[in-house]
């Protein structure tokens, strides 16, 4: 499993380890260069001393090496070696410490002497300088003698240098390792502290279930990095809470919707069995009505479930709106007349749209039947097609609908009358209309203005 903490620990430790190694190496090599420079400058000083003492005479190059040459940092005369050569191969001077051996002939110029490491004749590790120079001569000899070139090489025991470098190396390795070892728990503790709010968030999130959707994450006390996450989670919880609430209400409503006709049916049958009164046809008619009501509800719920699953196949064709509205209105006209309703139709003839006739018919039939059913006696309504906006609107006067009811209008099984005494409508019509409309790429929009409810069937972008 991926763990941010483990990954961060690993990355930080690797990074820190690399940093420690790099800085240790830098320290080591800088120190080594400094120490070598110092060692070389001592060698160079000794070589320059020999150089300054060498003098070209008539018998070649002569030099007198003082004992002080062996003083200084490399005081031991057995650990200092030198040789002075003439370029013709004659050795002019050499240290006693060389005994029978000789130094390898390597050299650079006076300005850029050559330094190298090698094993000293006594078998110890050493470092040497070699340079070519022109020895001085007496002023009176100048111009009389041809100047010859000489090579001076000085070598010294470099064990103390190596030891210093070894100690430095060991100190750096040990301190680096210690630093890394100490860093592990420190990184761990720091990350643990840093992650505490994240873990707290996770703990709170884990405690959330369907019954505790009212809980919100405290955003203010969180670090800046976690605030957007907690904010999004809170938004998600808000949405979940409202959809759970809607589902709960829907389930409760379904139960009530079906339980009531079921208990009617059961009570009717039980009373009839216990106290038969001979009015069989009346009872059968009641039973049939209850069954039809339940069937209508189940059919609508199924249609809703299917259309929400996108299982309704569409057959797109051109539909002329005016005759379709007329066809739907015909069976409703009697009821409208009975309630003394005045409905206006403002649909230009020849208005054609491209849609699925069956679904479009269902939507219009539902909207018109609702309009007739819920318009109070002596009220009025209007069915209008707006060519510009391509909107079909059904508006009618209502008497008990308030602005607070509007958000619930498209909720499943919602009815203004909570008692559901009205057995003809079960509160699924508008939801079905909306789902069907969505299937047709349309949307439903409802507005309430001065006691007039307007439901518009609009292109999806306007919904």
């Amino acid at each position: 499993m991926k763990s941010i903490r483990r990954q961060l620990t690993l990355t930080m430790l690797c990074g820190f380890g690399l940093l420690v190694i790099l800085s240790s190496l830098t320290i080591y090599f800088l120190t080594r260069i400094a120490l070598l420079n110092e060692f070389d400058s001592v060698l160079r000083a000794k070589a320059f001393t020999i150089m300054s003492l060498a003098e070209q005479g008539h018998n070649g190059i002569q030099v007198e090496i003082p004992r002080t040459l062996f003083l200084g940092t490399m005081a031991d005369e057995n650990s200092l070696f030198f040789e002075l050569w003439q370029t013709n191969g004659v050795v002019c001077a050499r240290s006693e410490s060389l005994k029978d051996a000789s130094l390898p002939l390597h050299y650079g110029s006076q300005a850029q002497p050559l330094y190298w490491n090698f094993d000293l004749p006594n078998g110890l590790p050493g470092r040497a300088i070699g340079l070519k120079f022109v020895p001085q001569m007496d002023d009176e000899d100048v111009g009389k003698m041809t100047p010859v070139e000489a090579i001076v090489m000085v070598a010294a025991d470099r064990r103390s240098l190596d030891r210093t470098l070894d100690i430095l190396g060991a100190v750096l390795v040990v301190s680096g390792l210690l630093t890394i070892i100490i860093t592990i728990p420190m990184v761990n503790i720091t990350l643990r502290r840093g992650h505490a709010p994240l873990e707290e968030l996770a703990r709170q999130a884990a405690a959330i279930n369907a019954d505790s959707l009212k809980v919100r994450f405290p955003v203010d006390s969180l670090p800046d990095e976690l605030r957007p996450i907690a904010g999004r989670l809170n938004d998600l919880l808000q949405r979940l809470e409202s959809s759970f609430e809607r589902e709960r209400r829907f389930s409760a409503d379904i139960a009530h919707e079906l339980r009531t006709p079921l208990s009617e049916l059961r009570a009717l049958a039980e009373v009839e069995l216990k106290w038969p009164d001979g009015e069989a046809s009346e009872k059968h008619r009641e039973t049939l009505n209850i069954a039809l009501q339940m069937e209508a509800m189940v059919t609508q719920l199924l249609a809703l479930a299917r259309s929400e699953d996108g299982k309704i196949p569409l057959k797109i064709e051109t539909v002329e709106i005016a005759p379709l509205v007329e066809e739907i209105w015909r069976p409703l006209a009697a009821r409208a007349k009975e309630k003394n309703l005045v409905f206006n139709f403002d649909i230009p003839s020849g208005t054609i749209i491209s849609t699925d006739r069956t679904l479009f018919h269902s939507i219009l039939a539902n909207l018109l039947s609702n309009a007739v059913e819920y318009t109070p006696r002596d009220g009025n309504g209007k069915i209008r097609w707006s060519a510009g906006a391509k909107e079909l609107t059904v508006s009618n006067t209502v008497h008990d609908l308030t602005a607070a009811d509007m958000p619930h209008l498209f909720e499943r099984l919602w009815r203004k009358d909570k008692s559901r005494t009205d057995r003809e409508h079960c509160g699924l019509g508008l939801v079905l209309c909306q789902t069907f409309a969505e299937g047709l790429g349309l949307g439903l929009k409802a507005t309430l203005d001065n006691g007039t409810l307007t439901i518009s069937l609009v292109p999806r972008s306007g919904a």
Partner: protein
């Protein structure tokens, strides 16, 4: 026994009403909460069967107002809401019993009967006064082992007096427990009903169980 039924489904109202009447209850019914509350406050019912989702005034509010006004009539909640929270809310509001739709008619009748009996501190389904035995479940009475031939109203009167045996029952109380809202009572309806019942008892056993307390009412007790 007089029962108030507050239920918005006309069909259910009809079926339950018939079942209650056939079981010997006097039934008043209302299809909405406001009417139900008015009836419950104006009459003295032995039990109220109350739906929760009602037009105008929901059952819970009705019950709350009823209890607030001091009415202790036993209430049986009848509803499609079946969650524990709903039941707890109903019982905490002051309901005495809770029945979920759909229900068995027998169960409803049994529960209503238990609630009515509770009114009279009776946990038995039989009331015995000397040789007079009244079976509250079978709605039948016997005197000295012999069954009495009573009409439904006579039985109801006998049952009511027997449940309140030893206590004076006023004419008003008899009227409100034995006749429903729509009954058009003649001024001496209670007197003549008591007279008929007393005669039937006298014919069967020869003793006088129902004594008249002049100016007060009637009391059923062992013959003196």
């Amino acid at each position: 026994m007089r029962v108030l039924l507050v239920e918005d489904s006309q069909r259910l109202q009809k079926s339950i009403g018939k079942a209650l009447q056939k079981s010997g209850y006097v039934v008043d019914a209302s299809g909405d909460g406001e009417g139900g509350l008015w009836l419950a406050e104006s009459n003295d019912y032995d039990a109220i069967i109350l739906d929760i989702m009602l037009p105008k005034l929901d059952g819970m509010t009705l019950l709350r107002r009823l209890r607030k006004n001091g009415r202790q009539t036993p209430v049986l909640m009848l509803t499609a809401k079946d969650t524990v929270a709903d039941r707890v809310e109903g019982l905490q509001t002051g309901a005495d019993d809770y029945l979920i739709k759909p229900f068995a008619l027998e169960e409803l009748l049994a529960r209503v009967q238990a609630l009515c009996r509770r009114q009279y501190d009776s946990k038995n389904n039989q009331v015995v006064v000397a040789g007079l035995k009244i079976d509250l479940t079978a709605h039948a009475a016997t005197l000295g082992g012999q069954s009495l031939d009573l009409t439904a109203r006579e039985y109801r009167l006998l049952e009511y007096l027997a449940l309140r045996r030893g206590h004076i029952v006023t004419r008003g109380e008899i009227e409100s427990h034995l006749y429903n809202e729509s009954a058009d009572l003649m001024s001496n309806a209670v007197d003549s009903a008591v007279c008929t019942l007393r005669k039937k008892l006298e014919i069967a056993g020869g003793a006088n169980f129902i004594h008249t307390k002049r100016g007060l009412g009637y009391v059923l007790k062992e013959p003196e």
